[in-house]
Amino acid sequence: MERLTFDLATQPLRELNTFLHNDAKDGKARHVTVLNPDGAHNIAVGLDCPVEVEIVGHAGYYAGGMNKAASVTITGSAGTGVAENMMSGKVHVKGFASNGAGASAHGGLLVIDGDAGLRCGISLKGGNIVVGGSVGSFSAFMAQAGRMVICGDAGDALGDSLYEAVLYVKGSVKSLGADAQYEPMTDEDIAAVASLLDQAGLDHDPKAFKRIASKRSLYHWNADANQEY
């Protein structure tokens, strides 16, 4: 069966997830449409095969959580922790995303067409995030690896305690967090932003983005270790 529809108004969530973990992995459906999500939590979590899932409406917490290889589209908005800890594949939110979008994602691409809430990309570990709108405060907090492209504005403390993740912002940044700094855009940066925008299907001039990365001054204790007087 190529296509299959699950209606969460009549079918339990557990049935959908179990189907996606087992039958979809066995190739029993390539494309699954989920109707009437009505903000249910944990839709399409822990997917482990290249299935395409379309959630028609709004999703609650952790939609597409821990995704691997699958492509999950949410036509409405997503709650907290959408695509949290994603390993690979793609999660696309056509509306807005709440807090902690893409938290600790190790890989894959998260696209949010609208705005994202607080702590977008927190603890990012190698995934890529493209936000068509703006992001809330403390986004990319302790982000370790990967890239974030923000087409709108950023709130307070962007990139606080950054490790090696790199952030690109087109709009204004209310404030940078501890250890984050602006750096010049290189040709490589422009190419990376252009590629991510292209994958996200968003039309912006890559040269209009600013690069933010870690000062690396928090990598080691800043005390005068072992000093002798």
């Binding site: 979590v45 821990m66 907290t80 600790s104 603890s123 302790m142 005390a223």
Partner: protein
């Protein structure tokens, strides 16, 4: 030559209680370095603990079991509330969560080998699951920590249970810490960090903030694993009564309560000594919370933090724990703080290496340096060879076996055919403090301080 009158000799050398040599040393150290002290292990201060309790063995009013002949069951089942596949252990003594990074890969393998032989579980730590520990452990509990270092769905699916770590007894409210010298290439890769950084983990989970969120997070983990695996929630002991209730509310199958004697591989000393409550007090509060919710026996309780002996295990069980978890005792069994290490069939003196760290066997808490003289808490290619998995596993198996023998001996003496039948009524306290914290009478009285006369 000037001499003072003989009667001033002692007074002129009177040490201040408030500013004793330890405190002076602390202040001078702070003044020299401008940085708090970081060390390993748990609280060193004297605390009310399980030694302050004794068992009322059977006599005229109770009937004991024959110590060597009669059966005394130790089987322990964890995760019966929601999980399709609860954890079944042969003994109620488990290995606490300790990270690869803090411990060497050899040590993690030793833990797995010994635990598997004894029919009990091991636990991963901050830094992910290593293939060595998965291979060697029949039952492996996979921790989900705030840092999410190395956390991935494949290992979630490989795990036998999942433990959501809210806090740790050594540092409730604090995140993990691993100093640069232990962040070698393999550790750095597993944690997605640059090599050699002084790694400080987050203290809050990135994708949930309170108990209502945690309920959804736990549901996510259940959905990912098709409701098969038990979900544990681990809390550092502070407001234990409320925290355990909230963990149960959030949907935990098992609650792990770690008291302030619990160890760490690296944390600020001020945390280790000054934050959290003793294990003895935490067990009572945790059991009260479960009873209050009528969840005793439905949600299992694992207690950790300063469990060293079979008597400690028996007392924790009598107070209402279903199992215990051991960290530091396990490391000591592997050789921690020992004078020698065993390599190539012979014992080798390690004292010079302790001295190089400014310490001696018996006092060492230098896990944070990664220079463990006996090869336990290290990532150094030479030092880690000082403990081989087979030798470590043999010692650890002996230790666990001894604890289990002590536990069953005590249970039989109290007339119990099953160690889980030990009960608070079997215990009395030797100090008023312990009586108040444990909620058992002061020996020879019926007085439980705080519960009236």
């Amino acid at each position: 030559m000037e001499t003072k009158p003989v009667q001033f000799k002692n007074l002129s050398r009177e040490e201040s209680y408030g500013y004793d040599r330890k405190t002076l040393d602390y202040i001078r150290n702070a003044a020299a370095h401008g940085l708090y002290e970081i060390r390993g292990m748990g609280a060193k201060r004297k605390l009310p603990n399980f030694d302050d309790l004794v068992f009322l063995g059977a006599s005229m009013s109770r009937y004991p079991l024959e110590g060597y002949r009669e059966k005394c069951l130790t089987k322990t089942v964890l995760g019966t509330r929601f999980a399709k596949k609860p954890i079944e252990l042969d003994i109620p003594i488990t290995i606490a969560g300790m990270s690869f990074g803090a411990l060497s890969a050899n040590v993690k393998e030793s833990l797995g080998l010994a635990a598997t032989e004894m029919g009990t579980s091991t636990t991963t730590g901050d830094g992910g699951m290593t293939p060595e520990e998965r291979r060697s452990s029949k039952i492996l509990v996979y921790q989900c920590l705030p840092s999410r270092y190395g956390f991935n769905p494949d290992d979630v699916r490989k795990a036998d249970a999942i433990e959501v770590v809210i806090g740790q007894g050594a540092k409730p409210g604090g995140g993990g810490m691993l100093l640069g010298q232990k962040v070698n290439p393999r550790v750095a890769k597993m944690r997605t960090l640059p090599e050699g950084v002084d790694q400080r983990s987050a203290c809050r989970h990135p994708d949930w903030t309170g108990p209502d969120d945690l309920a959804i997070k736990i549901q996510e983990l259940r959905e990912i694993t098709d409701w098969e695996k038990p979900i544990y929630v681990k809390v550092g002991a502070t407001r234990t009564f409320n925290d355990v209730k909230l963990a149960v509310h959030a949907g935990a199958d098992v609650v792990v309560v770690d008291g302030m004697q619990g160890g760490t591989a690296a944390t600020q000393t001020c945390f280790i000594e000054h934050i959290g409550i003793p294990t003895l007090a935490a067990v009572r509060q945790a059991v009260n919370a479960l009873e209050d919710l009528d969840m005793k026996g439905k949600v299992q309780l694992i207690v950790s933090g300063g469990i060293r002996t079979g008597a400690d295990v028996a007392k924790a069980l009598a107070m209402g724990a279903d199992a215990v978890a051991i960290g530091q005792g396990v490391l000591v069994a592997l050789g921690c703080n020992g004078e020698t290490y065993f390599q190539n069939g012979a014992h080798h003196d390690a004292i010079a290496d302790y001295n190089a760290l400014g310490t001696s066997p018996g006092f060492c808490h230098h896990c944070h340096t990664g220079k463990c003289p006996v090869g336990v808490t290290t990532q150094d290619a030479t030092l880690e060879q000082r403990l081989t998995p087979a030798v470590g596993a043999k010692h650890l198996k002996n230790y666990l076996k001894t604890l289990n023998m002590e536990l069953t001996t005590i249970a039989r003496a109290c007339g119990k055919q099953n160690v889980h039948h030990l009960e608070p009524e079997d215990l009395v306290a030797l100090t008023i403090e312990a009586a108040a914290m444990a909620g058992v009478p002061l020996a020879g009285t019926s007085w439980i301080p705080g519960q009236g006369f």
